[in-house]
């Protein structure tokens, strides 16, 4: 009906060449759409970027390594107190006998030092004028403490050492201490790779599963399938948008750990990036498998939690997976979250290269290939 050509509503047959060919490519458009949908979901942004940092900050503060504790003890005579104050690890208070007893019962002090009553009976008034240096006058000491409390036992050792030294004891063997408190062995160093692994799993499985099931539920997938859109582009767009987000996701958490807590990055950063990509793709394949047939968000959420929850617990996010019985270890070892967290810890904390991480990478690769293949086979496009 070219006769109605002046009709402005007749669609134009040839597209004017505007916009670059890349931007008009369906894969670019699909990836862009994925990306925009994510950015415009404030809750998703919170869970992926802010929550892991808050968690790391909270746990990092709670379990930070404190300076060695100074133990509080009480002494009932001034010269006992003076002798004990020579020990820097003790915080010594001079209290009356009654006050000292009460403080011990209430747990305010770990130990009370009193002169031995058998030796210094009725001698308190004579001692009151003594100078702190006159320790040699001291003939005996009684330590009162709870021997089931480690603090009490430590206080007992420290107090006795101080008393004996001030009375003139000399160590027979000279000893020195070397303190080990370097980054890499603290809880936060253990935690950051764990949280990173957990985040990779959560964002990939949720991102994949939720979006696919939602678009199936809203019949949007059916509508897209009715267009000439190549179906593999649809799936590929998830992988590509995931990679884009991964940069930010990993960057935020690892950057936070490195800058705020000085968590070491001893392995190659390229390796670390590659591990994250491999992990994310494996979890993405699991998400795809979960979403391959499910029709409702509720069902999908249930399955996702069922898959992820056990791994949060056993895969060593917050505490070592070694704590579980030996019998379970082979099972725990082949879980994808265990594999990625082990690999991330080895890379970040021990500087391990790909050669040492081959077993974990193989496990992740198997999960990826198996889940992806199965998902494609059973995927429901409508």
């Amino acid at each position: 009906m070219s006769e109605v050509a002046p009709n402005p509503t007749a669609p134009v047959r040839t597209p004017p060449p505007r916009g670059s060919a890349l931007a008009r490519h369906p894969l670019a458009q699909l990836t862009l759409v994925r990306f925009l949908e994510f950015l415009r979901e404030p809750e998703a942004l919170f869970w992926v970027f802010i929550f892991p940092v808050l968690l790391a900050a909270g746990l990092g503060l709670a379990f930070r390594n404190r300076p060695p504790d100074v133990l509080k003890i009480a002494a009932v005579t001034p010269h006992l107190a003076a002798a004990l104050k020579q020990e820097k690890l003790l915080d010594v208070q001079w209290l009356s006998v009654a006050a000292a007893e009460r403080a011990l019962r209430e747990g305010k002090v770990a130990l009370v030092a009193t002169p031995d009553p058998r030796i210094l009976r009725g001698d308190a008034s004579g001692l009151s004028g003594e100078t702190p240096g006159a320790v040699h006058e001291l003939e005996g000491v009684v330590y009162e403490y709870d021997d089931t409390n480690p603090e009490g036992r430590t206080a007992r050792m420290l107090a006795d050492r101080a008393i004996q030294r001030s009375a003139g004891r000399v160590d027979v063997v000279e000893s020195n201490d070397r303190m080990l408190r370097e980054p890499g062995s603290r809880y936060i160093d253990f935690l950051i790779p764990g949280l990173l692994g957990m985040n990779l799993m959560g964002s990939a499985i949720w991102g994949m599963g939720f979006t696919i099931v939602d678009s199936r539920r809203k019949k949007l997938m059916k509508r897209l399938v009715a267009t000439p859109m190549p179906r593999h582009y649809y799936l590929l767009s998830f992988a590509l948008s995931r990679l884009l987000l991964l940069v930010a996701e990993v960057g935020v958490l690892v950057g936070f750990g490195a800058l705020v807590f000085h968590v070491p990055l001893r392995g190659s950063l390229v390796d670390l990036g590659a591990l994250c990509v491999l992990g994310s793709m494996s979890f993405g394949a699991i998400g795809l498998l979960i979403a391959s047939r499910v029709q409702t968000i509720e069902a999908a959420s249930g399955i996702m939690n069922l898959v992820m929850m056990p791994m949060w617990i056993v895969s060593g996010v917050f505490f070592s997976a070694q704590r579980f019985p030996d019998l379970l270890q082979p099972v725990i070892k082949v879980l994808p979250l265990t594999a990625i967290i082990d690999a991330l810890r080895a890379n970040m904390l021990q500087g391990a290269g790909f050669a040492q991480l081959a077993p974990q990478m193989a496990i992740l690769g198997c999960w990826m290939v198996a889940c992806f293949t199965l998902a494609l086979r059973i995927f429901r496009w409508r």
Binding site: M1, V4, N7, T9, A10, P11, V12, R13, T14, P15, P16, R18, R24, H25, P26, A28, Q29, L30, L32, V33, L36, E37, R40, E41, S215, K218, K219, L220, K222, R223, V225, A226, T227, P228, M229, R382
Partner: protein
């Protein structure tokens, strides 16, 4: 197509589709010539959506032949997807995207077609081009869905219940858009359970019921097939039970009588003969009228005449 002019854009023979033990489409034959706007009219569950989705390649038939634009789905799927414009009944487009982003996405799938901005202008969504889809009204969403169907410059447009759930003004607006597309000479297949929509938009209508086309023709032909130009509808309140319907059907000019819960429908040729005769007969029977209405016969009346049911009965 060997059947001669007019060239059939859609050619269906012996189409059959069952879901478990429900026969959705039952030995359906249908031809839609190129350039026609054809309407499948029928109640919910008549098999309209199944039929249109088979034509769209979204559902596979159990048996039968379907040729769209002379092509078949099992051999020319990709070519067909390029040339069809499709609007599904219940698609919810992504709420987080803007109108323009949505159309850019759909445009990227087609090798040819208008610029997204042109289609936006076509469906009168210029002011909303940068608005999120989630913020659009029902009518605007439906126009966007139509735009997504048009962005590939289709030769054949499939519209499944395009105005269901819209307010009257939004429906009229959408009708105008579909009429303009018709002017461009493209073929349209639409399903609807609104007889006014079919009467206004469609060159020909097929009335579907229980998976079969039970009447086929132009809206005017179908109405004429009733043999009655008008419908007289009256209620007689509590006295309705005592009515002698047989006597009513013998009245001059009455072609059919159809009682339905409290009211009676008479299909009549000439109002000026039938109405006085009816009033006389009711007086003779001693029945008092509580309500009397007349309207020109519509496709709805055709459906009622054929099935004894209304289109929107569940």
């Amino acid at each position: 197509m060997s059947e001669g002019a007019p060239w059939a854009a859609l050619h269906i023979r012996h189409l059959r589709k069952t879901y478990k033990d429900v026969v959705a489409v039952d030995d359906l034959d249908l031809d839609v010539p190129a350039g026609e706007c054809f309407g499948l009219l029928g109640p919910n569950g008549a098999g309209k959506t199944t039929t249109i989705e088979i034509c769209e390649g979204l559902t596979t038939a159990d048996s039968g032949l379907v040729e769209v634009l002379g092509l078949q789905w099992d051999r020319h799927a990709q070519e067909l997807r390029q040339r069809l414009g499709i609007q599904l009944q219940e698609t919810q487009l992504s709420e987080k995207l803007t109108v323009l982003e949505t159309l850019r996405l759909f445009r990227s799938f087609y090798r040819q077609g208008p610029e997204p901005a042109e289609v936006i202008a076509l469906v009168q969504l210029d002011e909303k081009r940068n608005a999120r889809v989630g913020g659009l009204s029902g009518g605007q969403k439906q126009r966007l869905a139509l735009a997504c169907a048009l962005v590939g410059d289709p030769d054949f447009l499939f519209l499944d219940e395009p105005t269901t759930g819209l307010d009257p003004q939004a429906r009229r607006q959408l009708w105008e858009l579909i009429e303009r597309f018709k002017l461009a000479g493209r073929t349209i297949l639409l399903t609807t359970h609104y007889m006014d929509e079919a009467e206004r938009l469609c060159d020909r209508v097929g009335i579907m019921d229980h998976g079969k086309v039970i009447a086929l023709g132009t809206p005017r032909e179908l109405v004429a097939s009733l043999g009655a130009e008008h419908v007289v509808e009256f209620s007689a309140g509590d006295a309705a039970g005592a009515l002698d319907l047989a006597a009513l059907s013998r009245l001059e000019g009455v072609r059919g009588v159809c009682p339905e819960n409290g009211t009676v429908l008479l299909r009549v040729g000439e109002l000026h003969q039938a109405v006085p005769a009816l009033l006389g007969e009711l007086t003779r029977q001693g029945v008092a009228l509580t309500e009397l209405r007349t309207h020109s016969a519509t496709l709805e009346d055709v459906f009622v005449g054929l099935t004894g049911r209304h289109l929107r009965d569940e």
